[in-house]
C-alpha cells in the first residue's frame, strides 16, 4: 500500500496523540506500557508545532520528490523506498534512512527545510519519519494517521499529490484547509531565509524589501514558518474552532 499523509491545520487540536503513536510504533515493545520502560526511550518522528493563535500542526518529513537530505548525505544513507534512485514512475516512494550507513555527519539535518531530521539522544544516528513503511507494506496506514482523533492527519491511499500544480512533490501535504501563510511586513527583516527555503519558490523579496508569499502557489508546507527567526510568518485559519476557543469574544443576547 502506498499513499500520502494529509494534514489539515484547522483540525489539529495539539493533543499529540500522533507523537505518542509514532514513538510507540518505533519502539521495540510496540505498546504504550512496554515502550515507557524501554531503553533507549522511543522517539517520535513527528512533532506538533504551535503556529500561534491557538493553531498547531504536526510537522514531519515530507518525503520530498527532490529530497535535499538524499542529495546532501555523503554516505548515500538515504534511499527511495529501498532504491538508491527514484524509480521511473517516481510515485509515492518514501525517503528512507538506512541507519547502519549513517555516520552522524548531520549534513541532512542542515539540508532539510522542515527540521524533520533529528539525532538520537546519544548523538550517533540521525532519524526521521519513514512513513511507517513496515505498516504500509502490511497494508496498514501509518501510526500517526491512525491515531489522530480529529482527522487532522489522514492517510489517502494511492493519491498523487499536487497534480499539475506543484514544482515539487511531497508525500505529506498540508492541504485541504483554508489556512493561509502570510508574512507580516512589520516583522520581516528581509533576511531571505524563507525565500531560500521555500520548495515552491513562491516567496519574493530583496534586501530591505519585506518578503511576500504568493498565496496561489503556496502549498502551506510550513518551511518558511520554521525558517523565520523573527516570527514574521503568520498562519491563519479562519474556520478553526481552536482559534475561537482560545481567543473567543462571546457575549450573549441583550
Amino acid at each position: 500500500m502506498r499513499g500520502t499523509i494529509h494534514v489539515d491545520l484547522a483540525k489539529c487540536i495539539a493533543c499529540k496523540a500522533c507523537e505518542i503513536a509514532c514513538a510507540i510504533e518505533h519502539s521495540t515493545a510496540k505498546s504504550l506500557v512496554g515502550a515507557l520502560g524501554e531503553q533507549p526511550r522511543p522517539l517520535s518522528r513527528v512533532q506538533v508545532v504551535s503556529l500561534g493563535h491557538g493553531l498547531a500542526a504536526p510537522f514531519q518529513c515530507r518525503h520530498c520528490e527532490d529530497a535535499p537530505c538524499m542529495a546532501a548525505c555523503p554516505e548515500d544513507a538515504f534511499t527511495r523506498d529501498g532504491r538508491p534512485e527514484p524509480s521511473a514512475e517516481a510515485v509515492m516512494e518514501p525517503v528512507l534512512l538506512n541507519r547502519e550507513a549513517c555516520q552522524a555527519q548531520k549534513k541532512c539535518l542542515r539540508a532539510c527545510p522542515f527540521a524533520a531530521i533529528r539525532m538520537t539522544r546519544d548523538g550517533l544516528k540521525a532519524y526521521k519519519c519513514d512513513l511507517c513503511i513496515g505498516r504500509l507494506n502490511a497494508g496498514v496506514q501509518p501510526a500517526c494517521t491512525d491515531a489522530c482523533p480529529t482527522g487532522a492527519l489522514t492517510f489517502v491511499i494511492g493519491e498523487a499529490p499536487f497534480e499539475g500544480r506543484a514544482d515539487k512533490r511531497f508525500l505529506v501535504v498540508h492541504e485541504g484547509t483554508e489556512a493561509r501563510y502570510a508574512i507580516d511586513p512589520e516583522a520581516c527583516t528581509a533576511c531571505g531565509r524563507c525565500r531560500r527555503v521555500c520548495p515552491q519558490q513562491c516567496i519574493t523579496g530583496e534586501r530591505k524589501v519585506a518578503h511576500v508569499i504568493d498565496p496561489e502557489r503556496c502549498i502551506r508546507c510550513g518551511a518558511c514558518f520554521l525558517a523565520c527567526r523573527f516570527g514574521a510568518v503568520r498562519v491563519t485559519a479562519p474556520a478553526s474552532v481552536l482559534t475561537a476557543a482560545t481567543t473567543s469574544t462571546s457575549q450573549g443576547g441583550e
Binding site: 487540536i13 493533543c15 508545532v49 504551535s50 482523533p149 476557543a245 462571546s250
Partner: protein
C-alpha cells in the same frame, strides 16, 4: 521563547526574568512554553478522565467520536469538568474558612495567642448569626460565634445564615430555584457525586448544583473567613503600604510569607516584632527583620497592618531569584511546586507549614493554632539563621516599589463616604444616581502566564476608570494594579474620568479600592447589599450597575468566585473563556440563558479594552432600566498625560 518584555509589563518582573534566564533557572513562563501548544481537548473541556473506560474525548469538529464510552456528550463532559472545578474552588475557600473558625475557638479559650481584636465586629457577626449578645463577654460570644460558624460546614439541612444578608428578592429567587445552599461541605460532596460516572446527564441540572455550591463559598466559606478574620485580626481601615520586589531589604532578614491563611501570616508578623528575635537578627548583622508577602496572605496582612507585598502569583519564583529571600514560608494554595527547585539555586530556606501542603525534601514546620506564636518564632528564627548564609554578591533587588493605599471594606465605606459623624452609603448611591459614577466593577483574580503579566488587569481597570466606573479589587489583581500606582489618589487625576475624579478628590480616595484577599470577594457581595439597602438603585443585586471581572484568571477558585457572583446576580466577564468551548450549548447557556435563572450571566473577552466596554455597556443598560440620570460627564478629561 518570549522575551521578558513579551512576558510581563512590570519592570521588576522583567529584570528578574532576565536574571532567571541568565542563571538557567526555569520559571512558569518557560514551563508553559515547553507545553505549548496545549492540548485542545483539555482547553475545550471535552476530555473526560472520570473512569477507566476512558480517557474519552469528543471530536469538536464533528467527525470522530461524539460521545464518551458511557454516552456522555460534549455538553455533559464539559459541564462535569466545570462543576468539579467549582467544587474544588469552593473547597479551597471553605477549608480556609474552617481554619479561621478553629482559630476563633482558640481565641475564645482566653489562653491563646489569638485575640479578639475587633469586639465591635464580633458583636455585629453574632447578631447576623442570631446569637444573643447581651450579658456575654467577648470570649463567650467568640465561642458561640466560632461554634455556629463551624456548624455551617457540617450541617445537612436548612440554609446558611449569611444568605439572609442578601436582599429579600435575591433570597426568594434562591429558594424558588432551589439554589440556596444547605451546608458548605454537603454542597461540595453532592456536586462531586452529581458529576460522577452515570449520575447527572443534564448540564443545566449540573450547573444549578454548581451555582448552589458556589454560593456556599461566597456566602458561606469565604464570608466566614472574611468576617472571622476581621474579628480576630482587626477590621481593615485605609492604610498606606508598598508593593513589588523592591520591598525586599538588602540588609534585612527577609521573611517571605506566601499562601492564604492569616492565622499563620499574622503570627509571623507578630513574631517578627519579637525583641529577642530582633536582637538575634542584629547580632547576625542585619538591620532588622522584614516581613513581606506574596499572593493572598500578603493581602491579608497588607490590609490590616500595611505589611509590604513583594508580589503576585507569577512573581513568586522571581522573588526568590533576587537572592534576597532568607526564608519563604508557605501554607496553602497558589504556591508553585517549582519553588523547592528555584530556592535550591540560592540560600533561601523554603518552609512548608500545612499538613495539606508539603513538598518532598522541603523542611516542614507544622503550624498548630495551639502553639501559633511559638511556631512563628521558630520560623522567623530559621530565617535569621538563613540570613547568615546569604551571599551578598548574588543579591539583586529590583528598585521598583510602589506606594499604595489598601484597607477598604464594606463597613468602612460608611465612614469613608459619610464621615465619622454621619457614616453612610448615601454619597455612593447619590454619585451613581447623579451620573458621576457609572457603576462599580469588581476586578479580581489571578495572573495567568499565558498572557502578558499585567496586561489584562491594567488594560481593563484603566479603561473602566477612564469611563467613570469605580473599581474595587482583590487578590493578585489588586496587587497588579498597585504595582502600576493605581491604588493612589493621584491615579484618579491621571487616569479617571471626570465624574470619578470628582468623587475621588472629594473623598480623598483612589479610583481603585483594594478590598482585600480573594476570600474578601465576599466583601463585594456585602457592599452590593449595602448599596441596595441605602436605596434608590433597585431591589435586587441584578438591578445594580455592577459587574465582576477576572481578566487574567487561572485558578479553580476563580471559577467558583465567578459562579457565586453570577449566582448572586452580578454580570461577570472572564478573560480567557472557562473551559467549556467544546460544548456549544453550555457556552451559550453561560453567556445567555443562565440570566433567566439567576438574573446575570457571563461574557468571555480576552481583550481587556473590549472587556471594559462590554462592562460599560452592561452598566449603561442597568442605569437605563433604573431610569437614572445620564452620565454627568461623558467626555474623558484626564490630567496632563505626563502625570
Amino acid at each position: 521563547m518570549r522575551t521578558p518584555e513579551e512576558r510581563s509589563l512590570d519592570a521588576a518582573s522583567r529584570q528578574m526574568l532576565k536574571r532567571a534566564a541568565d542563571e538557567g533557572i526555569s520559571t512558569s513562563w518557560d514551563r508553559w512554553e515547553a507545553i505549548e501548544p496545549h492540548c485542545g481537548f483539555g482547553r475545550l473541556g471535552i476530555c473526560c478522565v472520570l473512569c477507566d473506560m476512558g480517557p474519552c474525548r469528543v471530536d469538536p469538529f464533528g467527525e470522530g467520536a461524539q460521545a464518551g464510552a458511557c454516552g456522555a456528550t460534549a455538553d455533559v463532559i464539559a459541564a462535569r469538568n466545570l462543576c468539579r472545578k467549582i467544587a474544588a474552588g469552593t473547597a479551597a475557600h471553605s477549608d480556609h474558612g474552617r481554619s479561621v473558625c478553629h482559630a476563633m475557638l482558640e481565641a475564645a479559650s482566653g489562653t491563646s495567642d489569638y485575640k479578639i481584636k475587633d469586639p465591635k465586629k464580633l458583636r455585629s457577626v453574632a447578631e447576623r448569626l442570631g446569637i444573643a449578645a447581651d450579658g456575654k463577654s467577648d470570649l463567650e460570644l467568640a465561642k458561640a460565634v466560632g461554634e455556629t460558624c463551624l456548624t455551617q460546614f457540617g450541617q445537612q439541612e436548612g440554609t446558611l445564615p449569611f444568605l439572609k444578608r442578601a436582599p429579600k428578592k435575591r433570597q426568594e429567587l434562591w429558594e424558588q430555584q432551589g439554589l440556596a445552599p444547605r451546608g458548605i461541605d454537603r454542597e461540595v460532596v453532592t456536586l462531586l457525586h452529581q458529576t460522577g460516572v452515570g449520575v447527572d446527564a443534564d448540564f443545566r441540572s449540573m450547573i444549578a448544583a454548581g451555582i448552589r455550591c458556589a454560593l456556599a463559598d461566597g456566602w458561606g466559606g469565604s464570608m466566614v473567613a472574611t468576617d472571622l478574620q476581621d474579628v480576630l485580626f482587626g477590621s481593615p481601615e485605609p492604610i498606606r503600604a508598598k508593593t513589588n520586589l523592591g520591598v525586599l531589604g538588602r540588609n534585612l532578614v527577609n521573611v517571605l510569607i506566601h499562601g492564604h491563611e492569616p492565622v499563620l501570616s499574622e503570627m509571623i508578623v507578630e513574631a517578627a516584632r519579637d525583641a529577642e528575635l530582633l536582637a538575634k537578627a542584629k547580632a547576625a548583622g542585619a538591620d532588622g527583620i522584614n516581613v513581606a508577602g506574596i499572593c493572598c496572605t500578603s493581602n491579608e496582612v497588607l490590609m490590616r497592618h500595611g505589611v509590604p507585598s513583594a508580589g503576585t502569583f507569577l512573581q513568586q519564583e522571581l522573588a526568590v531569584v533576587t537572592g534576597a529571600v532568607d526564608a519563604m514560608v508557605v501554607d496553602v494554595q497558589c504556591w508553585m511546586p517549582s519553588l523547592p527547585e528555584v530556592a535550591s539555586h540560592y540560600h533561601t530556606k523554603l518552609i512548608t507549614t500545612s499538613d495539606r501542603a508539603k513538598a518532598p525534601g522541603v523542611e516542614h514546620i507544622q503550624f498548630e493554632e495551639k502553639h501559633a506564636l511559638a511556631t512563628a518564632r521558630e520560623i522567623v528564627g530559621r530565617a535569621i539563621e538563613a540570613f547568615g548564609e546569604r551571599d551578598p554578591e548574588r543579591v539583586v533587588i529590583p528598585e521598583q516599589e510602589m506606594d499604595l493605599i489598601a484597607g477598604f471594606t464594606a463597613e468602612y465605606v460608611y465612614t469613608l463616604l459619610g464621615g465619622r459623624f454621619r457614616p453612610s452609603y448615601r454619597p455612593l448611591n447619590d454619585a451613581i444616581i447623579n451620573g458621576r459614577i457609572r457603576g462599580v466593577a469588581g476586578v479580581v483574580g489571578c495572573e495567568n502566564v499565558c498572557s502578558v503579566e499585567g496586561a489584562g488587569h491594567l488594560g481593563l481597570i484603566k479603561e473602566l476608570i477612564k469611563h467613570d466606573v469605580l473599581v474595587v479589587s482583590t487578590g493578585c489583581s489588586a496587587l497588579a494594579a498597585a504595582r502600576e500606582g493605581l491604588l493612589t489618589p493621584e491615579a484618579a487625576a491621571r487616569h479617571a474620568g471626570r465624574g470619578l475624579q470628582e468623587v475621588c478628590e472629594a473623598v480623598g480616595m483612589p479610583p481603585v479600592l483594594h478590598v482585600g484577599s480573594c476570600v474578601d470577594n465576599s466583601r463585594i457581595l456585602i457592599a452590593c447589599c449595602e448599596i441596595l439597602a441605602e436605596g434608590g438603585l433597585g431591589e435586587d443585586i441584578s438591578d445594580l450597575p455592577v459587574a465582576g471581572a477576572a481578566p487574567e484568571w487561572m485558578s479553580e477558585k476563580a471559577i467558583a468566585i465567578g459562579w457565586y457572583a453570577v449566582g448572586s446576580g452580578i454580570f461577570t466577564v472572564f478573560g480567557n473563556p472557562q473551559p467549556v468551548m467544546g460544548s456549544e450549548a453550555l457556552h451559550r447557556y453561560m453567556v445567555d440563558e443562565v440570566e433567566e435563572l439567576v438574573g446575570a450571566k457571563y461574557a468571555f473577552e480576552p481583550d481587556p479594552v473590549k472587556a471594559a466596554h462590554v462592562i460599560i455597556e452592561h452598566m449603561n443598560r442597568k442605569r437605563e432600566a433604573l431610569k437614572l440620570r445620564p452620565m454627568m460627564y461623558e467626555s474623558y478629561a484626564p490630567a496632563e498625560a505626563a502625570g
